[in-house]
């Protein structure tokens, strides 16, 4: 059982790391602010989500797991709203480059 959990953790965290890599490549390579934001939000949602999911079996009891999930939820919330705010600023002022 422990082995199964460990394999699950390695798999999910690696998948999350892959999303982080893809998101970073997108952030560097995408042509304008809005598409770059798109790349970033994918990292927040899926990358961190998969990492938290993978870490859940290793968490320190139910409260540790709850803390992990709430960190993910808070990052989701702030990520989504900051993205909205930046996108709004870009639309108002026009793209910089």
């Amino acid at each position: 059982m422990k082995l199964a959990f460990d394999i699950f953790t390695v798999f999910a965290v690696s998948a999350g790391a892959l999303f982080f890599l893809a998101g970073t490549v997108g952030l560097i390579r995408f042509p304008d602010s809005l598409t770059r934001l798109h790349a970033l939000t994918k990292v927040d949602n899926l990358g961190l989500g998969l990492i938290v999911l993978g870490l859940l079996p290793q968490a320190n009891g139910v409260f540790g797991a709850l803390k992990l999930v709430s960190i993910w939820l808070l990052v989701q919330l702030s990520g989504a709203i900051v993205t909205q705010l930046i996108a709004g600023a870009v639309r108002q002022r026009g793209p910089q480059q």
Binding site: L74, L77, S78, I81, Q84, L85, G88
Partner: protein, 313 residues
């Protein structure tokens, strides 16, 4: 070489790289973003050194709060453009020499450590059970070196007085010039309605858990300040003028309670800032809660800046 040492070396290289980037950046705004990232990376380095308390403070104060203060300074510089004269060559040369001297001194101190590293850690751990605290950092801050902690909080208020004294005479006691982005039904308003309840709970948790585990008044206070600033920037609450009595009361309540308990220690215990036997932990928790409030208000007002307009009746 284990995977952890690879991680550590990578982290150190990244910290150095971001540091150089922040210094070399042409634009002040970019340099500050670099500085904030530097603070966050540094806090990961503190986690790797098992100094979770320092990591939390670095992320909250070094990355977040200082970054916000410097962003405010850049915004101010931008609006005051036109009369900025670049520093003359001798000034730049002197600054460079002084920085090199400081860096060289630090390098010598770090690269040639003494044979036996002087440490009080075993003594601190040995006497910790007497205080009833579980977190040795809280023990050092509030028992062994309580005077330092008290003075540190007073310094915070002095810093705020320094910011306030930049105000012209006419608007003294007025409203700080924090920029407000009030738009009805915007996403920012939504965040400012949703996040503060969560943030306040996290701040209380940080403060409460500080006696037992990493956390404490500074970390909790920074979160409180962030929540307060968010509500003010979204325009849900107006920025208070600095002559409000409740504001000044909140500012000093932490240091005053700390000082009162310290003086009471001269009568009830053995010395100034000594706690009566058996009451150390409840007293420390009370001081921490009051300090959290004061630090939150002080940091929020530091970020809000000097007063710029007088309240119209």
């Amino acid at each position: 070489m284990t995977i952890l040492s690879v991680f550590d070396i990578g982290l150190a290289v990244l910290v150095l790289g971001i540091g150089i980037w922040a210094i070399a950046a042409r634009e002040a705004f970019a340099a500050i973003i670099g500085f904030v990232v530097y603070g966050l990376l540094l806090s990961i380095a503190w986690v790797r050194l098992s100094a979770i308390d320092v990591a939390l403070t670095e992320a909250a104060i070094g990355g977040g709060m200082t970054g916000m203060l410097m962003l405010g300074a850049v915004a101010r510089l931008r609006s005051a453009k036109g009369n900025d004269t670049p520093a003359s060559l001798p000034v730049r040369f002197a600054a460079g020499v002084l920085c090199t001297l400081v860096a060289a001194g630090l390098a010598i101190a770090v690269l040639s450590p003494p044979e036996v590293i002087p440490t009080l850690a075993p003594m601190a751990m040995e006497n910790l059970p007497q205080t009833g605290l579980g977190n040795p950092v809280a023990g050092v801050l509030f028992v062994y070196r309580a005077l330092d902690t008290l003075l540190e909080k007073v310094v915070l208020i002095l810093a705020l007085l320094g910011v306030w004294s930049l105000a012209p005479d006419g608007v003294w006691g007025g409203i700080p010039g924090l920029r407000v982005y009030a738009q009805p039904s915007s996403t920012l308003t939504f965040l400012a309605q949703l996040l503060p309840p969560v943030g306040i709970v996290v701040a209380i948790y940080m403060c409460w858990v500080g006696a037992k585990e990493p956390g404490g008044a500074f970390q909790g206070g920074t979160i409180l300040a962030a929540m307060w600033l968010l509500v003010m920037i979204a325009g849900l609450r107006s920025v208070p003028s600095i002559d409000q009595r409740w504001l000044r009361l909140l500012l000093v309540v932490g240091p005053v309670i700390f000082l009162a308990i310290g003086i009471a220690g001269m009568v009830l215990a053995t010395a100034f800032l000594a706690y009566p036997a058996g009451y150390a932990k409840p007293l420390i928790v009370a001081v921490e809660f009051a300090l959290t409030l004061s630090i939150g208000v002080a940091l929020g007002l530091l970020a809000a800046g000097p007063p710029e307009r007088v309240q119209r009746p």
